[in-house]
């Protein structure tokens, strides 16, 4: 399994440095990463849905885990962007005579419901299952 170098970055997240193999990993660590970085197997990094919330990763010792509070903020920000885009699409559909998936009231209520679900979720898998609004 490939090895990577990880360190806590200035945003409090985790930076992952992938050596190309041109230099020994210890040399890459000294040259390309700050003091205090550590070498781990890439298999030890969060996988699956956890990767979606990369900026919610936190390094504790040599373990990387996902902070669910940060993940919810990330999901909410993405949710709002997609909701705004979906709203624009709904307006365009109306203007050019195309139908939307639901009427405006139902759609707005669904947005609120999904946003509440994000606030109440406790796991990454639940967060992913909530998904994002559609036009």
């Amino acid at each position: 399994m490939a090895q990577v170098i990880i360190h806590t970055n200035s945003n409090g997240g985790v930076s992952v440095t992938m050596p190309t193999g041109e230099l020994p990993i210890e040399q890459v660590q000294a040259k390309d990463t700050p003091e205090g970085s550590i070498i781990i197997d890439s298999s030890a990094l969060p996988q699956g849905n956890d990767v979606i919330y990369f900026e919610a990763w936190e390094l504790h010792g040599s373990n990387v885990s996902v902070n669910i509070s940060k993940a919810k903020i990330i999901h909410t920000n993405e949710f709002n962007l997609i909701a705004a885009a979906a709203h624009q699409t709904r307006l365009s559909n109306t203007a050019i005579g195309l139908s939307n998936s639901t009427d405006d009231t139902t759609w707005s209520n669904n947005i609120v419901s999904m946003r509440n679900a994000i606030a109440n979720t406790t796991t990454i898998s639940e967060l992913v299952a909530i998904g994002f609004p559609k036009p």
Partner: protein, 208 residues
């Protein structure tokens, strides 16, 4: 003449140059200094740190190997190998010729292809020691050897997780030892962008 010629130093006395016709052998010397044309139907192997200098042409049907190979005329060989420098104005494959300046300045100085998602993988690279994944859609390409300055051109292209949508790439910071760039997806209907990981493919090339 068959076999191998070996000499510490070989220099023709006339400007007509020196020809060694030894189809089955090689010419091995510490150095070659020819006022005229030097040619060999075998290989020209200049031992150790020896050099080849010729005011005419250097021609070998086999391999030309030396620390430095310099000629005012044409250097010809199946393979020309130098542990140091080959100095030439033009370079040719026998049919097509281009200037050495074009070959030197026109070639990529560094490149890398990688993905940054569940499998943080560098696929292939040249002149790049590592790629750092700093945040969603935020990367630093670290060069094996720092450039003398930041006057270089970098290009990136990327694809998202499923390969079903392309990403927009932008340069964030350019340093002599690394380049920081971002990959973005576009919510076209609202014009709103957000950073997104190049989970399917990212290619990055530097020219200088």
């Amino acid at each position: 003449m068959a076999g191998t010629i070996q000499a510490d130093f070989l220099q023709p006395q006339s400007s007509a140059g020196l020809s060694i016709l030894n189809p089955s052998g090689n010419t091995v010397m510490a150095s070659v200094n020819s006022a005229g044309i030097f040619s060999s139907t075998g290989s020209l192997l200049v031992a150790n740190t020896g050099n080849v200098f010729s005011t005419g042409n250097v021609t070998a049907s086999g391999t030309v190997t030396a620390a430095n190979v310099t000629a005012s005329g044409v250097i010809t060989g199946n393979t020309i190998t130098s542990s140091n420098t080959i100095i030439a104005t033009n370079i040719s494959d026998g049919a097509n010729t281009t200037s050495m300046t074009n070959a030197v300045l026109g070639s990529a100085k560094a490149w890398v292809t990688f993905t940054a998602s569940g499998s943080t993988t560098v696929n292939k690279a040249y002149g790049v020691s590592s790629v750092t994944w700093n945040g969603t859609g935020q990367y630093t390409v670290n060069y094996t050897n720092a450039f003398a300055d930041t006057n270089y051109v970098c290009l990136a292209m990327a694809d998202g997780y499923s390969g079903s949508y392309g990403l927009i790439c932008s340069v964030d910071n350019i340093y002599s030892s690394n380049t920081q760039f971002s990959t973005w997806k576009n919510y076209s209907s609202s014009g709103v962008n957000s950073r997104s990981d190049a989970g399917y493919y990212c290619g990055f090339v530097v020219h200088k």
